[in-house]
């Protein structure tokens, strides 16, 4: 709950609300507000004059044809240079998410039974996993890959490849069906999967399956954590600036078959409980002709890397425990570091997206703090109201704690984070593809209208915080064919604080 004192009576009266709205409109459209009266006045003055007087006034200026022509030429030159140097627009034509089969699902009771039956977990580890699962915010329909359902899990290279093929190919098949793009037309391919990195790479696997062109620009990003989806988009965007009229296929996934932690270190057991199967495939384009059919346009991508700080660097660390089992160690100050990374990120995103009034307020608060001294009690730094800049928020569904922390620090309402919570409940933490499941939720609920802006925030190991800002180009009408098709009518659900399992 965002904490704020109850506003005094007069502040909440209706008349003052309109005064505030008027002020906001004035400040945000300052240029228009200043220019329009000037232009109107000028026009009225010109209309009052006699046409013959206007002509003689024009002649009196003594501008020759050459000067007019050269002015015109200069204007054309400047205009062309301006338009050529602007970055190419990047459109998201469409995206598709992997839909897990319901026989891969992991009910809580099954997960706990398996944890008890595994020979390598001791009693304390089992109880810890129970506590995590109870408070995780996951539902009963999240899915694990088939290899992780065995007692004990049968993780092999072959099983990991099988999971990769299953999730990636079904997402890409769905994307091709939705967009009608021909595989031979794809010019850029970026695949990101943090924990599984075989040879040949997953991007080579995609090239092989879909028979992509031999001069494709393919990239495989591994080891970059849960925010790698936005890093891939940034890379694709930069490539699309260099190559006109191109299509970029971006695939975000996380392969969890090889990463089951079989030890008893508590900090390393969390990924077992939270990570689930998922993948997303997107088609980006910089062709002007796709503007009509594209769903979104990429406005900004902002990346912040806190790796220079040792504490942030070791915050999410893959290592071996005392018994030689490798797993991902999540440190206790993960939330604090995430908060700092977010602050760095929004410091850059803020000026790009916030309306002028919010920026003025933030500036005022900054100046006031500097003048009055930061030690004045009760004076908390002003957090800009991002709800005024965005209609929808997609927060990486890393866990309930992450979503709670972001809701609190950004002052978001429950409705703003609903997409993230419901995606966590239905699909679990699908790592880099979770942002796309959340966007799919917003679309499936019919809330995406033309002109809406979406803010995607991803966190990942390193410690990185990346954001992307999208604008919706055409309203998405329900029903939407996607991963939420057969369950959207049941959402939103009320997720209890603690689910009693035992």
């Amino acid at each position: 709950m965002p904490s704020s004192e109850a506003p005094p009576e007069f502040l909440s009266s209706v008349k003052l609300k309109y005064v505030r709205l008027g002020y906001q409109y004035l400040a945000n459209h300052m240029a228009t507000v200043l220019l329009v009266p000037v232009m109107v006045g000028f026009l009225l003055e010109a209309l009052k004059q006699d046409p013959a007087e206007l002509v003689s006034l024009w002649r009196a200026l003594g501008i020759s044809a050459v000067q007019i022509l050269s002015t015109f030429f200069v204007l054309v030159l400047v205009g062309t240079a301006y338009f050529m140097s602007r970055p190419r627009p990047v459109y998201l034509v469409d995206f598709a998410c992997f839909r897990p089969a319901s026989n891969c699902r992991v009910p809580f009771a099954t997960f706990l039974e398996h944890a008890r039956l595994m020979p390598f977990f001791d009693e304390k580890s089992v109880r810890f996993q129970v506590r995590i699962l109870e408070r995780s915010g996951l539902g009963e329909e999240t899915c694990l890959p088939p290899a992780n359902h065995y007692i004990p899990p049968r993780a092999s290279l072959e099983a990991a490849r099988a999971e990769a093929e299953l999730v990636i190919f079904s997402a890409v098949d769905e994307l091709i069906a939705k967009t009608g793009v021909k595989p031979k037309d794809i010019d850029i391919l970026v695949v990101n999967c943090s924990l599984f990195c075989p040879t040949p790479s997953l991007s080579a696997m995609v090239v092989n399956k879909y028979k992509l062109r031999s001069n494709i620009l393919s990239f495989n990003l591994s080891g970059m954590g849960c925010s790698a989806g936005l890093i891939s988009i940034d890379l694709a965007r930069d490539l699309l600036q260099a190559h006109p009229n191109s299509y970029a296929l971006v695939i975000s996934t996380e392969i969890i078959t090889p990463n089951y932690y079989a030890g008893n270190e508590r900090a390393m057991l969390l990924p077992n409980c939270l990570f689930r199967m998922g993948a997303a495939a997107l088609l980006l384009s910089n062709c002007r002709r796709d503007r009509g059919r594209a769903k979104y346009r990429l406005l900004h991508v902002v990346r912040s890397h806190k790796g220079a700080d040792d504490r942030a660097y070791r915050c999410v660390f893959e290592e071996e425990d005392r018994d030689g089992n490798s797993g991902i160690n999540l440190s206790k100050d993960l939330m604090a570091i995430a908060g700092e990374a977010l602050k760095t990120n929004i410091t850059t995103v803020g000026p790009l997206v916030l309306p002028v009034t919010e920026q003025l307020r933030f500036l005022a608060s900054l100046v006031a703090r500097r003048l009055m001294g930061a030690s004045r009690p009760g004076w908390r730094p002003y957090i800009p109201d991002f709800k005024r800049a965005f209609e929808h928020f997609c927060i990486h569904a890393g866990g309930r704690a992450v979503i709670d922390e972001l809701q609190r620090s950004l002052g978001l309402s429950a409705a703003n984070v609903e997409a993230s919570r419901m995606a966590l409940h239905r699909f679990g933490n699908t790592s880099s593809s979770s942002l796309w499941y959340e966007l799919g939720y917003i679309e499936a609920k019919g809330r995406m209208r033309r002109g809406d802006r979406v803010w995607m925030i991803g966190f990942g190991s390193g410690f990185k915080c990346n954001s992307a800002v999208w604008r919706c180009l055409r309203s998405v009408s329900t029903p939407v064919d996607g991963p939420w098709t057969d369950c959207i009518h049941r959402y939103p659900v009320d997720i209890p604080e603690v689910v009693k399992l035992l």
């Binding site: 319901s102 009910p107 809580f108 008890r116 009963e140 065995y150 007692i151």
Partner: protein
């Protein structure tokens, strides 16, 4: 048993099959008094199917998930629920299936032989390698009462083994689970969806508890303070063709195939002592009630009754006629009285008595699958994919043994008889001339017994 021969079945992996649709939280399925009485027994079924294109492990697991959505009681776990006691004692409990959506255990295995070779040469012990089951242990919350084993043979044939605690379901329910699975696999409508209504077998408003049979069993169990010298039991399967059964019926006079076969095996097991003898019989009461229960009523609904003082030397037809007479005389009233008697003495109550064997220890003969569901479970859309063979066994039948009579693969009056008897009696019965007269095919006999 299989001394000197390597095990031909290797278990590859163990997993859990979950239902496709989550179970509504908080659902429970209470068990009836009859269920509680069956605590000492386990069912083992094996269905053999010849190779077919859709009979792959992955597709079978998919269809199993779909069918489990209809059976929340199968994917649940047994739980001792404290019962509100009128006297305020608070120490009473009853078994309840907590439908917590945990799934059922699934074991994948490989058999290093072809199906035909297996049917020709496997022994009774080897056959139970195809229906893996896990002992209950002390913690029932993580023990799956059901265990399905999918075994692949070298020629692509598949054996589906289902083992279950008898406390959850009787043979009819277990067979209909596999039947529903086959319907789901063919993407056809499930013809016998489960009827999960435990209060169907609650005692009547004016109970009249009375069961001579169970009283004597209970007394015998209480009396035997030292553990009975467990005679080693083995099993054999006799498959009688349509013609054989018809010729048997002509010898046995006016009797049903069950009566005739029960009489035949009873006389031959008891031979050479052919005096007055008693036999315990069991039948499915689902359709013999005034308000009949659906076939797919989930739970135990068998009634056990005794045939007393039959002179086994009087000839096959007389014995069969006697069995038939007593069978027809079974009233629904007897069944309800037995259920009410069990209700008063169910485990968990203060008046509970120690658990006794329901199938045995005296010789018991049970008619299974009267309506031929087991062989009517094709997993593919052509009739050629009906099971090649179905085996039903019940564990925990120490003593004189158990004779199960059920329909066979062939149409018509063909029957198969699965006997679980002490070692020496099985050997005797397999070599018996009176039975061999009807030319049964003997399958899954113990090693060392000459077949035919």
């Amino acid at each position: 048993m299989t001394a000197g021969r390597e095990r031909r079945v290797t278990l590859c992996a163990k997993t859990t099959a979950v239902s496709a649709i989550p179970v509504r939280p908080g659902k429970t399925h209470p068990l009836s008094a009859l269920d509680h009485a069956m605590a000492r027994h386990f069912l083992r079924l094996v269905f053999y199917f010849r190779a077919a294109p859709t009979l792959t492990k992955s597709r079978l697991m998919n269809s199993l998930s779909e069918v489990l959505s209809y059976y929340p009681a199968v994917t649940g776990r047994l739980h001792r629920e404290p019962v509100e006691d009128a006297a305020g004692g608070g120490s009473e409990w009853r078994w309840v299936v907590k439908c917590n959506d945990a799934g059922l255990r699934l074991v994948e295995a490989r058999a290093h032989t072809t199906l035909d070779e297996w049917l020709a040469s496997a022994t009774d012990g080897e056959e139970m390698d195809l229906a893996h089951s896990e002992p209950m242990g002390h913690d029932t919350s993580i023990w799956s009462p059901y265990c399905v084993q999918l075994t692949e043979f070298d020629d692509g044939a598949v054996a589906i083994g289902l083992s279950s605690a008898h406390i959850n379901a009787d043979l009819t329910s277990a067979i209909l689970i596999v039947r529903a699975w086959s319907d789901a696999h063919r993407r056809a409508c499930i013809v016998f969806p489960p009827f999960l209504h435990a209060p169907a077998l609650d005692p009547r408003p004016n109970p009249n508890p009375n069961s001579a049979l169970f009283s004597s069993k209970s007394a015998a169990a209480a009396a035997s303070t030292e553990p009975a010298a467990t005679t080693k039991m083995s099993s054999a399967t006799f498959v009688f063709s349509d013609a054989s059964v018809k010729s048997l019926l002509s010898d046995a006079g006016d009797a049903s195939p069950f009566d005739a076969l029960a009489a035949l095996f009873w006389t031959r097991i008891a031979a050479p002592e052919l005096g007055a003898a008693d036999l315990t019989l069991g039948i499915d009461m689902r359709k013999r009630m005034h308000a009949p229960l659906p076939y797919a009523f989930y739970g135990n609904a068998f009634h056990f009754y005794r045939v007393r003082g039959v002179d086994l030397g009087a000839g096959l037809s007389r014995v069969a006629a006697e069995i038939r007479r007593v069978g027809e005389g079974v009233r629904e009233e007897d069944f309800w009285e037995a259920v009410e008697w069990l209700h008063e003495r169910r485990p968990g109550r203060r008046e509970a008595e120690p658990a006794f064997q329901v199938y045995g220890p005296e010789l018991t003969c049970v008619e299974v699958d009267r309506d031929a569901f087991a062989y009517g479970t094709p997993f593919e859309d052509n009739d050629g994919c009906r099971p090649a063979h179905v085996t039903c066994r019940v564990d925990g039948t120490e003593g004189a043994g158990l004779v199960l009579v059920m329909p066979a693969a062939a149409e018509g009056a063909a029957r198969q008889v699965v006997v679980t008897l002490p070692d020496d009696v099985v050997a005797k019965v397999c070599r018996d001339a009176a039975i061999a007269k009807y030319e049964p095919t003997v399958l899954f006999a113990p090693a060392g017994v000459k077949k035919g």
